[in-house]
């Protein structure tokens, strides 16, 4: 395979990763890392560097549309970024302290549980109308969005900001420690703990993952993990895919988004368990 074949085929796969990632609020690393390591036999360090690029591309590409369409909860997203960025920076210091295999097993189990929790909420999707959460009220994190599938404006209240912040801290930590899984914890944190509607959780997670990834991207660049021949097709393909995917989210039913998310989350958790148990 010549470099040109490599660039073209990887760009096409990246388009698919971008569509999927933008739809369910994940970075597309779930597709990019296994594709690069298993299909193209690329060094894992370079694959993780490409994954960070893919996360930022998904985030910026999709969030440009989601913010304009008022699907993202800007205030909640920016508020929760306190926890994700702090987690990402502290994670950079813990990398050498904690055994990676243990982390993979631990977060594999955590994600398996979150996929179950997200699946369980499939019938309890009604937004809250009252919130007694002091932080949410103080910062006015509540919101509303226009649901194209249901053709109506849906307003919702936010609860559970403290468990939400705690989970977001862990999400930042994980993405810095393992290089994957930042969106996988953000969506359940907003959906299950804070009761944001599923589509808003996905769009807001999308908005946030770029910032979490940017917090560790400098390290990846300095370590020489951003290989241009890999990063170029990934960035371009994912950006195109995310722009397309952002047009889809509004139109599909919340339940569909939830089920696709659960399936992908199960895959990620199995992937993590495999890395921890049979490395």
């Amino acid at each position: 395979m010549t470099p040109l074949d490599f660039v073209i085929s990887l760009a096409l796969i990246s388009v698919a990763a971008g569509v999927l990632g933008s739809l369910i609020g994940l970075g597309g690393g779930v597709v990019i890392v296994p594709v690069l390591t298993l299909l193209y036999h690329v060094d894992i360090r370079l694959a993780i560097g490409a994954s960070i690029v893919s996360v930022i591309a998904t985030s910026s590409g999709a969030a440009a549309a989601y913010v304009r369409e008022r699907m993202t909860n800007l205030r909640a997203g920016m508020f929760l970024e306190i926890a994700t960025t702090t987690g990402a920076v502290s994670g950079a210091y813990l990398t050498t302290l904690l055994p990676t295999r243990f982390l993979f097993v631990f977060f594999g189990v955590v994600l398996a549980y979150s996929s179950f929790a997200t699946f369980r909420r499939r019938h309890a999707d009604a937004p809250l109308t009252v919130s007694h959460d002091r932080l949410a009220n103080y910062f006015n994190l509540h919101g509303s969005y226009y649901d194209q599938a249901e053709q109506r404006e849906i307003s919702y209240k936010v609860v559970g900001t403290k468990p939400g912040l705690a989970l977001m801290y862990v999400a930042g930590l994980v993405s810095a420690l393992l290089g994957i899984g930042s969106g996988a914890l953000k969506v359940p944190a907003m959906d299950s703990a804070m009761h944001l509607p599923m589509k808003v959780s996905s769009a807001t997670s999308n908005f946030m993952i770029g910032v979490t990834a940017a917090a560790s991207a400098g390290v990846y660049f300095a370590r020489g993990q951003i290989d241009p021949i890999i990063a170029a097709p990934v960035a371009a393909g994912v950006l195109l895919g995310a722009t397309v995917g952002a047009r889809v989210l509004g139109r599909v039913a919340s339940k569909t988004v939830r089920l696709v998310f659960v399936v992908v989350l199960v895959v990620i958790s199995l992937e993590m368990l495999q890395k921890g148990i049979f490395p």
Binding site: Y40, I56, P228, A236
Partner: protein, 173 residues
Amino acid sequence: MTELSGSSGTPQHPELDEQEPAPEGLGGSGHRRQQLSPEEVAEMEEKVRKVELAISLVLRIGVVVSVAVIATGLGLMFAHHAAYLPVHGHFSYKELTSKSTRFPHSFSSLGHSIAHGDGRGIVVLGVLILILTPILRVAVGVLSFIYEKDPPMAIVTLYVLVVLIGSFFLAGG
């Protein structure tokens, strides 16, 4: 598009209902959002909308510029290395994606590479623009919340910006 309409089920004074649960704590500032007149609400909504559009625009510009730079760099890479094209034989991509592959990964090597019109350096520059886009978005967020006259959210966003910029210095140092 009134904010609190729809299926909320609390037609009268939803604003009051929302504030009620937070009467004390947080330094007594739980009531910082006063009951606003309709004109003030409209003005506020217009400001919020402007902020949304500004943030969306920043992201779009970042994306478009980075894609353009990356595409240029990629084009130069293939233009300068005929062996990368399939017609010229059996050069494998693996030589460019192995542990020993060399490409710019510091600002000085990047500057050197771009000055020589090297495609790889230009691709890396495009990727750096992509990485900077979310950080720029946070900076616009700080300004936006100041414009919305919302000090608590402005402080929150400023903290995020400081942590992000700090992380870059930690990475470089």
